[in-house]
Amino acid sequence: MNFKELAMASNKLASGHRSCAGCGFPSIVRTVMKATKKQIIVSCATGCLEVTTTIYPYTSWLTPFIHNAFENASATISGVEAAYKALKKKGKLRKDVKFLAIGGDGGTYDIGLQSLSGALERGQNFVYLCYDNEAYMNTGVQRSSATPRGANTTTTPAGKASFGKLEWKKELMQIAIAHGINYAAQASPHNLIDLYNKAEKAFNTKGPSILVVLSPCPLGWKSNTNMSVQIAKLAAETNFWPLYEYENGKYVLNYEPAKRKPIIEFFKTQGRFKHLLKNKKLLEEIQGKVDEKWSKLKKLCEEK
């Protein structure tokens, strides 16, 4: 796959959706859906993507789509898949169909985690895509368990006695992998070819698979709309958001910066970290955590 081919592949998310200018998820969702030539049914959790693409009487979806509620995209797609299997068993349907559940970080790391866990454990044949913009953006930038330590959100505002969110970000990849699934990948919208390849693998995986993709949010990250892709790139270059995959029991690192940039380079691009830039102690602590997680990941990837 290259950019030219990707640009010309059949698109399933139409224009006229109402996500903010510079939003990260439209290109993520388009790229993922381009990665299979089979028919796709989408189940989407409540959140920015669902809201901005299905404002009645308009829909941006060129493929069958269902939104049920915030916490149940995975359970919903399980029912759809069961219906498909039942009809296939009866010989009433011949097509091969792919099932895609999508949620933001709130709908995945938090309120939808149980539903996701259930579907992963049952071995439902679907791809779960989490577009992770690291907070509840749709309701106005509240902290989620995917919000990184130190980020300023409307429920963890930085103030005289606080530097923003206290807790570290939850490890979704590890949680998903612990279910014994065959494929999990972390990707970023700055490298759409890598994302495409991972989505293709996910769709071809037997049983459940998951794609965790960083999704820059100019509104919540307080960044310039034109910088979304560049910020995602910095997330990878600082090892804040490593690109890696887990395939049939093996970890593979997809990108290693020649010289990792300091985390402050990533923080500088976003207003949500503005208050941290002079907090040396916290910066050092966060840098330490990033490096520690990176070396753990490298070790996993070196395992034979």
Partner: protein
């Protein structure tokens, strides 16, 4: 005129796939992309990064920007490796 309750499909179902194209988001923008055709190599990188899918391709080449949907985010200009796109003030927009 918006449809009354007897005229719409039941349960809020939307039966016209992709009809959001009837909703133009182009008037959100303050800046619009301009392409320097001499610099453009038709690599189509911008097409993939555009959140609005509004950079149109014809015969494998970049054809035009569909300004009916462009929100003016400027990602295309930032990501163009050849600096062939610049964002210019949209004189039609209401400031």
């Amino acid at each position: 005129m918006k449809k009354n309750y007897k005229q719409i499909p039941i349960g809020g179902m939307i039966t016209k796939a992709g009809n959001s194209e009837e909703y133009k988001t182009g008037d959100w923008k303050s800046f619009k992309p301009e392409r320097d055709e001499k610099k453009c190599t038709n690599c189509l990188i911008c097409v993939n990064y555009c959140p609005e899918n509004c950079i149109k391709v014809k015969n494998g080449k970049l054809n035009h920007f569909d300004l009916d949907y462009c929100k003016g985010c400027g990602i295309c200009a930032t990501e163009c490796p050849f600096k062939a796109i610049v964002m210019e003030l949209d004189t039609e927009c209401e400031l």
